[in-house]
Amino acid sequence: MTELLLRSGIVFDPLNRIRGEKMDLAIRDGRIVETVSSKAKIIDASGMVVMPGGVDIHSHIAGSKVNSGRILRPEDHEKDAEKRTSITRAGVGYSIPSTFTTGYRYAKMGYTTVFEPATPPLKTRHTHEELDQIPIIDKACFPLFGNNWFVMEYLKEGKLEECAAYVAWMLNAVKGYAIKIVDPGGVEAWGWGRYLKRLDEEVPHFAITPREILRGLCKINKLLGMPHAIHVHTNNLGNPGNYLTTIETMDCVADLANSEKPIIHITHVQFTGLTGNSWLNVGSGAPEIADYVNKHDHVTVDPGQVVFGDTTTMTADGPFQFLLHKLSGNKWVNVDVEGETGAGIVPFRYRRSNYVNAVQWGIGLELMLLVKDPWKIYLTTDHPNGGPFTSYPKVITWLMSKDARGRVLARINKNARRRLDLPGINREYTFEEIAIVTRAGTSKSLGLKQKGHLGVGADADIAVYSIDVSSIDPSRDHEFVRKALAKAAYTIKKGEMVVREGEIVATPTGTTYWVDPKVSNDLMQETTASLSAKFEDYYTVRMANYSVEENYLESPTKIEVPAEV
């Protein structure tokens, strides 16, 4: 029995409505408890900010395209190598860190749970192999369904229940967590040399539209009782004027909304919030999108904030990456096209002086600042697409301090500055709001009941930052806040101290969450019978060899959910 007492920290726990109160936290065997015995080890957190461990909803940390990105970019690693220590392994950054380094760097920032948002089902065995190699943090992955042939066929034939059973089977087979949809139908269309730019265009050979795919999977998500909403990367990404597609995508499932929880999450909106009709006159569609989000409760968003500098873009949206490769002239690779999806990887440098990049930077921040309810928006950089996750502290200071973002604003392309609403926005996030967008909101959205809060029974995943809220004003002392957030004073993972003074002190293994929707036996048997015939037709792998066995994962945690079908 290990006991810890975290004494006198200033606690921000929005889910339990604790707003910066000085209190003690008792921890026993990896959980938060009411009290501990006098033998408990005491950690003094006086004059420090205490929050639940960070929960990242969208960060590409593992999988075949992440690894292809590593292979593509030796120059990215060369500039950022870390030596091994007696506790940690050697590794490299910068924008696509090696697995161990990923775990260490997240823990150093006080993050303890990270979700990999796009894994091609056929290659998810690889994703799990990488996830298993990421120490400390808990994790999960979202399999891609938006261009899946079976899904498109089922939905076309109106077989919603069979499709739901198929999705349930797939989640179980690959040990996935949520339904991820990338450019629904668009990646498949691109395979036939076509771009789908609107929700009502048909996917070649499947006679189905992106709208039907989105609505179908949204209904299935509800039928299966999934903990997270459908996680959507919209069509038409990276094209000027696409903010309309984003709003249309959010709106296309509006009538399916229920009062309990949001049903659609639109990710990295910065890439899909462009106004204008060419690269010369792109502008920010953030005000319009934020307005829609403010008026509707069925939707949540994340910005995929751009951070100026060198990074690697990678998404399952092969068509967009090809476009970016053509625009930038940078090298690229196209992977996963032999699986159920597709993907592309292009190194990219966001430049302050570049008009389009500066507008993209502004869109993310405008969105974060204009969405009034912090429970509807989560902080991401779509790592590594907008910038590496290690720049979260920088992004947080931009949110907390008008001065911090003003300093960047003063140095960006002046035409972009003129077109953005950002200079006129005075909102500054509080620590409580930061705790919502980085932990409480994300874990609520993901349906993680043990995470994102510090109530009794919660996992003892805690981040402690040496920021004295009585003397530090984040609006003014943003530089101090950034440094403190980058190097947590303590990170506690499952009741164990893993980071002290910004250095790793222990590297336990985190768990991998996966969701197993319980569909009725009859339906499942019927569906798998017809599936095995399709497997013979379409796959290079036998259906029996396709599944990732649960014991293949180092430390799996199954979340069983009762389905309606």
Partner: protein, 264 residues
């Protein structure tokens, strides 16, 4: 004793202002062992280290010593023998003279200054590491012997002069600067180049099909010097929308006579 030694501290600017004992204690990595510089070299001092224009002399076979003159900013270095890989990496000023052979990645990512190698050089002279797009940016490299493949890969400026032969792909991906190979070239010169010039004074078996022949020129300038020709002038690489120039000696390449038909 073929274990490589990595030391990025052997340069005039790194030694300047240090005492002899401090220099002897410089950390070097010999394979996976952390050693001192005087475990590998006898370090002697002649004159004063206070002088800004310091000369570092390395006597003997230094072919397993990597990164000699790393990020050198001043002074001069003389290697009396062979030098290892990455000689003069990222140097910005000063000079290095090697009386023996140089290794691979000689003058990689170099920004200024001069390197002269009396013997042969390895592959990737004046290039950058794999994956990077930022090769040599300035300065001059002169190799009196032969060089290996991919001379001046991703070169952005500066001059490389190979007095002997070169391997394949000189000037690959280059976008500015000059490469002059006085003798023969292994072929595929200027692949994917977007700018700059590659001059081949000797024989080359073939020109890539993605180059257009433009004219025959009597001479070509390398710095202030005018190299007598005549030369066929090609531009490319068309695949990259490039405007690089290849100068190929007419007399040494009679098999390229067909180019003349396009120039009439």
């Amino acid at each position: 004793m073929s274990v490589p030694v990595e030391c990025s501290e052997i340069s005039p600017n790194s030694f300047a202002g240090k005492t002899l004992d401090q220099i002897r204690a410089t950390e070097v990595w010999e394979g996976n062992q952390r050693n001192r510089l005087d475990d590998i070299f006898q370090v002697k001092e002649e004159g004063s280290t206070a002088s800004e224009m310091l000369t570092v002399r390395i006597v003997g076979d230094a072919s397993r010593i990597r990164k000699i003159g790393y990020r050198m900013t001043e002074g001069s270095m003389v290697v009396e023998g062979d030098a290892g890989m990455y000689l003069g990496e990222e140097m910005s000023s000063g000079s290095i003279i090697v009386s023996g052979n140089g290794g691979a990645w000689l003058g990689s990512k170099m920004k200024g200054g001069a390197i002269e190698v009396k013997g042969n050089a390895g592959d990737f002279v004046g290039s950058c590491y794999r994956g990077s797009t930022k090769g040599m940016k300035g300065g001059t490299i002169t190799v009196h012997g032969n060089a290996g493949t991919e001379v001046g890969c991703w070169m952005r400026n500066g001059t490389i002069r190979i007095k002997g032969n070169s391997g394949m792909f000189p000037g690959m991906h280059m976008n500015n600067g000059t490469i002059y190979i006085e003798k023969d070239c292994g072929g595929r010169a200027g692949a994917q180049m977007t700018g700059g010039k590659v001059i081949i004074g000797g024989y080359v078996a073939a020109i890539l099909p993605s180059f257009n022949v433009e004219e025959v020129r009597e001479k070509v300038k390398v710095g202030e010097e005018k190299i007598p020709g005549p030369f066929y002038v090609f531009t490319g690489d068309v695949n990259e929308n490039g405007n690089g120039k290849l100068f190929i000696n007419v007399a040494k390449n009679p098999h390229l006579k067909w180019c003349g038909e396009y120039l009439e």
